[in-house]
């Protein structure tokens, strides 16, 4: 039930994000083109949710923001899942020094306050760490990488715990006794058992990344305007609380729905696994 509810929420948002260009064509305006004579317009037939501080259509910008937020969330969660699974698997399999080093690193990163560190990482010159500067795609990649650097620990911990359980099982000893190589053992016998915990952690990582991205963009450090993201839309809406209070409502509701969808999905998978 929770899985279905989560998938439904995320599916609707993703469908809206994918359909954004067609909806823009159907409504007949460009979400990037300012229309200064039509600022803060109330909702109407042409602008279903009204217009923003530059007279751009809010509904279309929300959907474009969904493209950005989902891209950042999915990309960073996938990177975090890959790195975390690898780290957890290696820690459980090698044990000893590797286990100690990887898990202490994860502990240390978890113990630190993430946002101040994200602020300083986002303020770095992208060129100084080998990324192109300026374009929207580069922004997405940059933020996704930074968030993944702080998102892999949860996956690693769950993957390690599951891998330790599997590695202690009889069939692993049996497989080793039958002469199955370590690589094949890990890939064919241990990795599939990690699917459920890694899926839970990845869904939570998507939620975490979307929240963190919106916080960074809200502070002006994430996705740079004119590209819309829910966070930077909220930042602009906060400056216009008196003129157009509703503008601050929609991006927050989108974040809420997306994060709730991810959390419901994660909770559902966890319950089914337990």
């Amino acid at each position: 039930m929770r899985i279905a509810a989560g998938l439904l929420l995320l599916g609707v948002i993703a469908a809206g994000a994918l359909a954004a260009p067609w909806l823009a064509a159907a409504l007949g305006h460009d979400p990037f083109a300012p229309d200064l004579l039509n600022r803060y317009a109330p909702p109407s037939a042409t602008h279903p949710l009204g217009t923003d501080e530059l007279g751009r259509d809010v509904a279309l910008r929300l959907l474009w923001g969904a493209r950005v937020s989902l891209a950042v969330g999915l990309l960073s969660a996938l990177i975090a899942a890959a790195v975390g699974t690898l780290a957890g698997l290696v820690a459980a399999w090698r044990g000893g020094l590797w286990d100690g080093l990887l898990m202490r690193l994860a502990d240390a990163l978890l113990a630190l306050p993430a946002l101040p560190l994200l602020i300083i990482l986002s303020a770095l010159d992208p060129a100084a760490i080998g990324l192109p500067r300026g374009q929207a795609m580069a922004d997405v990649l940059r933020i996704a990488l930074i968030l993944a650097a702080f998102g892999w620990m949860g996956v690693a911990r769950l993957a390690r715990a599951a891998a330790l359980t599997v590695l202690a099982m009889e069939f692993v000893r049996a497989a080793r006794a039958l002469g199955v190589g370590e690589g094949r053992l890990l890939l064919r016998h241990v990795l599939p058992a990690l699917a459920s915990p890694v899926a839970v952690a990845t869904a939570l990582a998507v939620a975490g990344a979307i929240l963190a991205e919106s916080a960074l963009s809200f502070l002006g450090l994430g996705i740079a305007p004119p590209a819309p993201s829910w966070g930077n839309m909220l930042a602009h809406a906060q400056e216009a609380l008196f003129e157009a209070p509703l503008l601050a409502l929609w991006p927050g509701l989108m974040i809420l729905a997306t994060v709730a969808g991810c959390t419901l999905l994660a909770d559902g998978i966890r319950r089914r696994g337990a």
Partner: protein, 307 residues
């Protein structure tokens, strides 16, 4: 690990972090001289080179780090470029303000969270609704809730200020209500879910059945037998969540324009004030780690199995 060991670990982590932060800040675009040139176009390239040499900005980053670290070890924390004050003088009031915000929010979040969680575990009918509400509440972005609170209580009703700090003669608590509520709500859901799970677990333990068989009242079972066991995981969460709490404080301060550590770090990073940014980041990291340690110690004091 012993307390001394943990403190040593914190010390080593801090030293390592100071190096990492220094390098990262060194990678930020522009240095103070660039900003000086932007502010005064009459400065020539020769002046810039002379100033860079004067302040040692032309030397390699590692060398500059060693010079900075040496100064800090002797108690010289440097000046803030942005505020033109000694860095140490800026940190203390900011830290006090942030600790007040974080402390109050934690108190409310943990207190109310435990109350909701225990209620969910004790009353079967409440478990589902409270669990679901907590699940959804965790999805609310904290800063968005803050905006909504400003919209309702400051803009529409005009009961409370939208941000800032109390001036002379104003009641300080009125400026705390909305930020504390914003920060506490973000944590509340996590505490509720954790407390509910912990209490439900504790109520399933064999000694609860024993107590019931001996004829202990339900209230006694809940508070004397189950609750102390359920309290331990909640304290674990306080330790694990110290970082998230501080992160939340940063954005809450930015939203409500409260001069605390979060705003100080943000302003310092944005304004290229490396002395201030470095020390503020380190102080926040150390305070967070000490908070985790304190939660661990409290947990150990409460749970004899961990001793």
């Amino acid at each position: 690990m012993s307390i001394a060991g943990r403190l040593l670990q914190i010390l080593l982590t801090t030293a390592l972090l100071s190096f990492v932060f220094f390098m990262l800040i060194g990678l930020m675009p522009g240095d103070p001289i660039d900003l000086a040139i932007a502010g005064d176009p009459r400065l020539s390239a020769e002046d810039a080179a002379r100033l860079r040499a004067l302040y040692g900005l032309d030397r390699p980053l590692v060398e500059r780090y060693l010079a900075w670290a040496g100064g800090v070890l002797e108690g010289r924390f440097g000046y803030s470029r942005l505020f033109a004050q000694p860095v140490a003088d800026l940190l203390w009031p900011a830290l006090r303000s942030t600790l007040l915000l974080v402390g109050l929010a934690l108190l409310i979040a943990a207190g109310a969270g435990v109350a909701f969680g225990v209620a969910a575990a004790l009353k079967q009918g409440l478990a589902g609704p409270i669990g679901l509400i907590a699940l959804l509440a965790q999805a609310v972005p904290g800063f968005w809730l803050g905006i909504l609170l400003i919209m309702i209580f400051a803009v529409t009703l005009g009961w409370l200020p939208a941000g800032g700090m109390a001036e002379e003669g104003e009641a300080a608590w009125r400026f705390l209500v909305l930020p504390v509520a914003t920060l506490a709500f973000a944590q509340l859901a996590a505490y509720t879910r954790h407390a509910a799970a912990a209490m439900a677990d504790a109520l399933r333990a064999p000694w609860i059945r024993t107590a019931r068989a001996r004829g202990a009242s339900e209230a006694r079972i809940a508070w004397q037998h189950a609750f102390p066991n359920a309290a331990v995981p909640v304290i674990t969460l306080i330790g694990l969540d110290a970082g998230a709490l501080v992160s939340g404080a940063v954005i809450t301060e930015a939203l409500f324009a409260r001069p605390g550590m979060g705003k100080l770090i943000y302003d310092a990073v944005m304004g290229n004030d490396s002395n201030l940014a470095l020390l503020a980041l380190l102080v926040v990291a150390v305070v967070t780690m000490l908070g985790s340690l304190a939660a661990d110690l409290a947990q150990r004091a409460l749970d004899p199995r961990l001793r």
